[in-house]
């Protein structure tokens, strides 16, 4: 018995295909049942995220299992075979692929951590459905160890890779946890909306939105669960904000150093983070010289994002070495032959079935099957 993997990801299939191939989360146990009913498949795990749809499995004959699964997926998702080309890995290549996926090396946002949780969730779903046994259990447990090892021994997670993430990282570097931080949006553009949403997702508590068109400010404030302020009054609320995101279409400066000095006086030593994503810029350069106020414009955030991305790209080789060294040391556990069970002194007559996990045969949906080798 060996292992295999079949699937598509963001590099091999456009979103129009990936969305057609996506497994519905609630139906995954039933789908796993169907997959394991294929004669050539003895174990299976389905990993379905926005950027990838993959089936990992164990089989006596991986090439046959891969062909069967190819047909299964095409029929199951009612897709033309010419429209999709699945990548297929067997044995060590399949294990390597999963290890890289769990480590975030195969992700759209290189080194992102969400995939690790998604792999864990996919494995848990298969385990609970009784679709895994020795091979998949060993393979996924090892992928979790490797994922942790890669993240703790390299800088693959360091730095932001997008303007929004760079803004959030800087906010956290200034304020620590963002719970309780107030965010003011000056201008109701799409970019400020997405940056504000990133800050909200990290715990920022209150949004103050102001815009020349009060109607737009009100609309965005409602969307973000904040409050709208008339454009004539926003300066009075300036000192309440910990983070100011400015993205108006004004032709000149909207926030100058004198306004920020006055706000800082009222803030009594609390830091202020200003993000200027407007072109032409809304915030005067001199604001950056005010004590305890930190100003970043769109270009500076983009530079940070680019640096973050290139730093992560430089880490790929190091991550691969970590994976390689781990495999050198421990081997691929899912491919190791099963340990011989000690022969009992007086075997009971009915214990004539093989104790090897490889002899489990096709999927039998029973909880015992899932817990043989957690």
């Amino acid at each position: 018995v060996s292992i295999f993997c079949i699937g598509v990801n963001h590099k091999t299939a456009p979103v129009e295909i990936r969305e057609r191939l996506a497994f519905v989360e609630e139906k995954i146990p039933d789908d796993l049942h169907r997959i394991c009913q294929i004669d050539t498949v003895v174990e299976a795990v389905v990993l379905s995220t926005c950027n990838r749809v993959e089936v990992y499995g164990a089989s006596d004959s991986p090439p046959l299992a891969l062909n069967d699964l190819n047909d299964f997926l095409i029929h199951h998702f009612k897709i033309e075979s010419e429209q999709v080309e699945f990548y297929k890995f067997q044995s060590e290549a399949a294990a390597h692929h999963l290890f890289e996926v769990a480590s975030g090396l195969d992700s759209m946002v290189l080194g992102e951590t969400e995939i690790f949780g998604q792999v864990k969730k996919a494995y848990a779903a298969a385990l609970n459905s009784g679709a895994t046994s020795r091979r998949m259990n060993k393979l996924f447990q090892q992928s979790f160890s490797i994922g942790k090892l890669v993240r703790s021994n390299t800088r693959i997670q360091q730095g932001a890779t997008s303007v929004g993430a760079a803004a959030v990282d800087l906010a956290e570097k200034i304020f620590g946890q963002l719970q309780g931080c107030q965010v003011m949006l000056v201008g109701a553009g799409d970019m400020s909306r997405s940056t504000a949403q990133s800050l909200l997702s990290r715990g920022a508590s209150e949004m103050i939105v102001t815009n020349r068109s009060y109607h737009k400010a009100l609309e965005l404030a409602e969307d973000l669960g904040g409050r709208a302020v008339h454009f004539d009054d926003w300066e009075e609320a300036l000192h309440e904000a910990d983070i100011i995101i400015s993205s108006t279409s004004a032709p000149g400066i909207v926030i100058d150093a004198a306004m920020i000095r006055e706000a800082m006086r009222k803030r009594r030593g609390h830091s202020l983070f200003l993000i200027d994503i407007a072109v032409p810029r809304d915030i005067a350069d001199q604001v950056g010289d005010v004590d305890n106020a930190y100003l970043y414009n769109i270009d500076q955030l983009q530079i940070l994002a680019d640096e973050g991305l290139s730093c992560r790209e430089r880490q790929i080789a190091i991550c691969r070495k970590v994976i390689h060294d781990h495999i050198e040391k421990r081997g691929i556990q899912a491919l190791a032959p099963p340990r011989e069970q000690p022969r009992p002194k007086d075997p009971p007559e009915e214990s004539s079935t093989s104790s090897g996990d490889d002899a489990l045969g096709p999927f039998v949906p029973s909880p015992g099957n899932a817990n043989q080798d957690p």
Partner: protein, 221 residues
């Protein structure tokens, strides 16, 4: 962290050995005092660094510990004090000396937090983020920790000064005046910060210069 822990074990062994030799708290010479302060910096780092969520505090305080211990080593090399067991151990003297030196540990860490703040502030302002930037704690935590460390140092200094009044042999006037001066400087910094809200940059600079002043008074005492 492991290296700091190993160093702490050696420091503790050294101080225990000297304590056995003198039959009292091992702060009988400049070298021992510097080792005791280094030991208190490390102990404060272990207890407070994690509680205040200050990663890298150890990295920044290690050079100070190294410097103090190197000077101590030179002092021992030039003039290692002979055992000086007192006829009678004065508990108040022991209390005065040890709490005062622990206060120096807290003030030292406050100065380290100040250096870390200035470093991070500079990197944020210049938008030039080096490798250390990603490992430094947030600006807000640094300022909070700095204030807490000054408060801890002040409490310990107060305890040290109060216990001096109960000592069998009263301290000299200059000793009391210098201890009072250190206490006053830190109390002023703290009071101004509480009532007028010192800007974090000013507070950090105050913490660094106050500690340098405290070190000067220590050498005079």
């Amino acid at each position: 962290m492991a290296l700091m822990a190993l160093g702490f074990v050696f420091q503790s062994l050294f101080l225990w050995e000297r304590g056995q030799l003198h039959n009292r708290c091992p702060i009988t010479s400049g070298g021992e005092i510097l080792i005791f302060i280094s030991w208190s910096i490390v102990i404060m780092y272990f207890f407070l660094g994690r509680a205040f969520r200050l990663s890298l505090l150890g990295v920044f305080s290690a050079p100070m510990v190294f410097l103090f211990q190197s000077i101590a080593l030179l002092l021992f090399w030039r003039n290692d004090p002979v055992p000086r067991p007192p006829a009678e151990v004065d508990r108040w003297l022991e209390m005065h000396a040890s709490t005062s030196l622990f206060a120096y540990g807290a003030f030292a860490l406050a100065a380290v937090a100040g250096v870390m703040y200035l470093f991070l502030d500079r990197q944020l302002k210049r938008r030039n983020h080096g490798q250390l930037f990603y490992n430094l704690p947030p600006i807000r935590y640094l300022v909070e920790a700095l204030v807490r460390l000054i408060i801890i140092g002040l409490i310990l200094t107060t305890a040290g000064i109060v216990s001096a009044f109960f000592m069998k042999q009263h301290p000299t006037e200059i000793h009391l005046a210098l201890s009072g001066a250190v206490w006053l400087v830190y109390a002023l910094v703290l009071a101004i910060h509480i009532f007028k809200r010192l800007r974090p940059r000013t507070l950090s600079i105050c913490a660094i210069f106050s500690f340098l002043l405290a070190l000067l008074t220590l050498s005079a005492v």
